[in-house]
Symmetry: C2
Subunit: 165 residues, 2 copies
């Protein structure tokens, strides 16, 4: 009985050692597409994909530009991901994309490339440069205290430029 | 004692109910950037990002085009993700990107857009159209039994077009 148990233990140990690849620097936590901005949302991976979904579902697109080691991005992300009203509306009425790398499309940086920056795009593929926050020098920036403004802007973006395509 | 326990239970229940946003259709498993092609690898999100990393690290780029509901993609993914030699070399010597949506760059579909398809790109940003599998009608396709060919092709791709930039 004891021998059988030892054998079992050995087999378990061996199967672990022979298991999946583990990097030299140790096991990593798999990266998520949400990057912490809402694990329950369905995220597009690329801007092309997001535009496609926006057009075909006739839902506005929210693009979040951020950096994982930027304290302002992190602070906004915490409020954003914990705000159930924001999360619910995004899940039901928006296509969402978060990027840590700029695209080649200049329309996505109407007043420069900075983070955090939130740009809305209409299903007609028009960047909603009119949907802005409260900072005149960085019009698409939001601070953690700006959740209410962001919610208002989401409602603005939900009013589509062309109600019938 | 019993009352205290009941209260604790109530608090736990409440905190769950007041917790994070859960979609009407039920809790979802967060999407990973790996999409099952190697949870321990560090995946680029977009082609632009992947090219940037390839150039700056002077490592070749592997781009995998696939679809999550395609049985050929799934079968290759299983072999690919469980092959520790492939995973180790990719982790140490490559930049990796997997896409479920085609890019606008025609160079990434030398003989058409199909899945699964694996394209190598040199750090000089040259698509290695010469690194092909064994199917003349779909030159960048691999089947689960082609792991050895894929490994050989990875070794080919590791020989950079320009050894010094």
């Amino acid at each position: 009985m004891k021998a059988a148990f030892s054998l079992l233990l050995l087999l378990v140990t061996l199967s672990c050692a022979l298991g999946k690849y583990i990097p030299k620097t140790g096991k990593r936590i798999p990266q998520t597409l949400s990057r912490g901005w809402g694990d329950q949302l369905i995220w597009a991976q690329t801007y092309e994909e997001a535009l496609y979904w926006s057009r075909s579902k006739n839902k506005p697109l929210m693009v979040i530009f951020h950096l994982e080691d930027c304290p302002h991005s992190k602070a906004l992300k915490k409020v954003f991901s914990e705000d159930n009203e924001i999360q619910k509306i995004l899940d039901e009425d928006f296509v969402v994309l978060n990027l840590v790398y700029e695209t080649t499309d200049k329309h996505l940086s109407p007043d420069g490339q900075y983070v955090p920056r939130i740009i809305f795009v209409d299903p007609s593929m028009t960047v909603r440069a009119d949907v802005i926050g409260r900072y005149s020098n960085r019009m698409y920036a939001y601070e953690p205290s700006d959740a209410k403004i962001l919610l208002d802007n989401m409602k603005k973006a939900k009013k589509l430029l062309k109600s019938e395509l």
